[in-house]
Subunit: 338 residues, 4 copies
């Protein structure tokens, strides 16, 4: 195990995200025909999809459910040893659930919950995608043909989760998963942590925790797919508009992350982002950039206003604030991280 | 220290490149006024420049010299301990030169040569750039104002070095620096290693070794600066054309790396690339993509032809093949890596 | 003279716009350093500027004045005969002022007012721009070097004027200037004409009249410069933001005109648009597209909201509604067109 | 009729082009699935297609034939009177064929041949496209939904024809059709006219004549479809490459016209261009830009080389030079224009 002062490199990257949808057929249409993702497998009420540039077989698992929201968030470990180390550390923190035999295209995983209750897992064995003939690319280093269908999103980028207590969940991600903290929004002269953006790799952030203004637990703010150019995001806005998809905000540019964003709701209700721009972080000693209320403003750079729904709406949608205390099983872990 | 089978994470990223130029004033004009880089320091015949998005104070050192070429290539370590580990390993391999007190904006460095003789160093302490008022950005997470001057290159991306023996140098970078091998060109049914592309981070490659067809040593093929969008590369071509700069190739798209390239010669003679596109690699077990003669073709994707100079010309320019054997000091290291 | 049913081709295009500014130095900085326009002449308190792609010597005249607003709007005729025809027709309509000896770079012009009172002129003789050596382009068909400075706006595109009575002014432009009506916004089941977009050429619109909600006369809504790609508009937003310029709206996409817009206030107070996208109209029998309240919505396509200032603010700024009747001199013309 | 010195405005724009193909199914796949054009009608061995932004019902007629090449080139007149005027003038010049009852979506046309023998027609009555529900756009001013399929070319832009004698055909287009000459390539100190680019509207050129180096008659060099941004052309190159289409040249930038080009061969053999950039011409007294051998160079701006096939290949393909004299019927017209 590395010396204390050295960065942890046990998690390599965000592997996949499971989205729950009450309208599986329409959600599939959105991701396949509009975002241009490729369905590669179907089983047990779930469809597995991928971006054309994802090296893994699947990076999005679409699962029929009563309400929209996020299912399991999967992180790939950098090695079998790293996976064991993380499993032990998480288990010791009281957040562990246990080992699974693995999902489609992967080896066994260790499942756990973050302090807010979101279901997560870590795994190492990953089946590299081998394209069927019809999806064979003429580029040898591209795992799949660029089909050009719809937005044709390239790869998974990140997700943002809501949390009752951002600080505790941020500490969890930094200390137990080894993520580097990239940016923060802190109100009240820095005393209130409103949001934190983190990553296990050079991608600016692969996980964000933002405070749940309704006080609920386990909710999803958005899931984000990458395209290479800002122009692709503009084109995505035209495609979504022509197909009757509600665009909540963008295309425009965030100040935190510098991301060029486009938020829409897929038919199942989840907020989906088509994303480009932002910047890579390679500094091993990156100092998190912290934004106050005034500095953050509306969270955009060119003056665009994010609608109130951007703060209020998440999946599953809850009508009234829920201030229920954390389940017993999470309390010890939360205490240790707070 | 990690177990043998775990990836090494001791080098974080390419820190800076020193370019030698016989026309320092004209070269400075090229990098400052055309590429839009910012000069931040001058001393001892060198001007230090940076891209507006580089977090480090300087990523390009422009040094007056009799002939064009590459001076010292600097790599940032992930921690003080990592720096010590790399210094010891390189010294043990017989490639070490010794410690320096550090260059502008940095702490001490350990200098060494790659087997082909290129001068390199590793360091950890890095002075984060703090912009003077005139260069203060309105974006808190941008180290410097986006001036919009010329191409306005964002950050250092990579460099490509020529080598007499690609295989030995590739092994050096993988085994001693811990870089991940991303792509290769291999001729003669895989027996002849023509080029190898490697990286210590998610950026597709930060170092490439390509065979020196003139059999020389220590030469530079090109140095590459990143812009965020392909459109920025097209705009760069217009700016270079309007200013009488010779464009050797592009804008077009490589097949290996998928990079969107634009190669020109700065007035000192070095080949400089304005670069975008390509793709990130986050897989801890990435399998290098290998291209044969036929698969590689001209090295471009859409059918553009790279001119003969792309193979023949490098800096310093040599008129006749030089098949001089390696200096004594490098022989042992070369033997151990071959 | 063409038969009645044939379209009139007497006006070729928008030639130039004179903007009035109470802060001439700061306005010059905005247009020269940020928008990247080229100052080519100075006389009598006015600076003449051009976009790098304008074939005419100057397309923007910046004139020091007590308050911001629009000075003279100049239209180029298609021939000397066409100029005579327009002068006679306008004079006959009671809107004529008389002939001038011409402004910088041009022959004599016939001055007049539109029914709302905006000063306009038509001219034919135009001095083609010949670039001084420093601005010589390497492209023989480009009148001036693409300097790459700031936004580097290519050419004048259009202007939008406010009017007390849109219908009358629209009829004036269609009947007396021969413009083709391209789009309209009509409220109250089509009874109230809120805005009309017109053009003498294939460019979607070069003149728009929009109702002045404050009931004033002779005001400017915005002046618009063209860039070739949507990406150039995004880049413009970054440049303006870094230089402390207030962005009122955009970059985003209008529904009417399909224009990709970015509105900012130049330091003198005038609203300036950096513009791309939109579409060309070549149909000789184009049927104007009419938008009702509901269809127009906020005037944007992807859901962005235009701020209230977009409706309320114009130059010169007036604090209270002015419902003064039209000057006597304009009444007859207004009557004949209504 | 206008006075001699006034420009003629009888032709409004290029209406449509008929392409002949020996592989109609594959050609249809190329235009529909790759370029993203919309088939709207089928009759008599022809499929009629349109770009999503074309206001006319159809702008490309794809006709099964023994060999590739161009069928009828259709020009829309600006008025019924203008159509009559052109018919009479062309008839008087000895190039007329006669009136037809009109093709799909149009009223009667007057057919003729240019001096090189290419079949052309002029018409005025045009059926504005009304989209079926599935193709209804959410933009009221867009005649058809932006489907996002493949390249999704917006509209017809221009075509380039080969001619034995460029000068005669250029004179025909300027004098009889009223096109404005925009650019020329002239070799031998201006004595040999190699190519001429002309247009009836602000679009830089809608018709080009280039010398046929094989001395044949009636051949097509290329047909060109417009996309709004340079980035769309880059994306087109990816789509064509992934689908095994041969890219002959580009994406890159021409010097003459400043067009951003991408040339590929559709499966039937015709050279098709995906095109953006270029510039509008609104000057009524535009002075043609003339390029000598040296100035023109390879015809590209950034240094790219156009392959020899770009000069040699056209449709129908002819193996050996054909120096057959002009048919009797064309001789008189040629004589009058030379």
């Amino acid at each position: 195990m590395p010396a204390p002062s050295e960065p942890l490199h046990d998690i390599a990257h965000l592997g996949s995200v499971e989205l729950l949808t009450p309208k599986p057929d329409r959600s599939l249409w959105y991701f396949r025909d509009l975002l241009g993702m490729e369905p590669v497998h179907e089983s047990g009420g779930s469809v597995y999809l991928r971006g054309y540039g994802d090296y893994a077989t699947s990076t999005l698992k679409l699962t029929a459910a009563k309400t929209a929201g996020v299912g399991c968030v999967s992180w790939r470990a950098t090695s079998p040893q790293a996976l064991e180390r993380r499993a032990k550390a998480i288990e010791a923190a009281g957040l562990g659930i246990g080992w699974t035999n693995g999902d489609f295209g992967r080896g066994r995983s260790y499942r756990f919950r973050d302090p807010d209750g979101h279901l997560m897992e870590a795994y190492y064995e990953e089946q590299k995608f081998v394209a069927p003939p019809a999806l064979h690319s003429t580029l040898k280093n591209l795992p799949q043909k660029y089909t050009g269908r719809g937005v044709c999103a390239r790869r998974v980028d990140h997700l943002a989760l809501l949390a009752q207590d951002v600080e505790t969940n941020r500490k969890f991600a930094v200390e137990l998963l080894g993520f580097q903290l990239r940016e923060q929004v802190r109100y009240d002269q820095g005393k209130t942590e409103i949001g934190s953006w983190m990553s296990p790799t050079a991608i600016h952030h692969q996980l964000a925790y933002v405070v749940d203004v309704k006080g609920a637990r386990g909710r999803l703010h958005h899931f984000s797919m990458w395209v290479d150019n800002r122009d692709d995001v503009l084109r995505a806005a035209d495609i979504l508009s022509e197909n009757g998809i509600f665009i909540e905000a963008g295309p425009s540019k965030h100040n935190n992350s510098q991301g060029f964003y486009l938020y829409s709701y897929e038919p199942g209700g989840n907020r989906i982002e088509v994303y480009s721009g932002s910047f890579l972080v390679t500094a091993p000693d990156w100092e998190p950039v912290t934004w106050s209320e005034e500095e953050r403003g509306t969270g955009t750079y060119w003056g665009a206003t994010l609608p109130d729904s951007f703060i209020q709406y998440a999946t599953p949608d809850v009508q009234t604030p829920n201030t229920a205390p954390a389940p017993e099983v999470l309390k010890e872990a939360i205490a240790s991280l707070s």
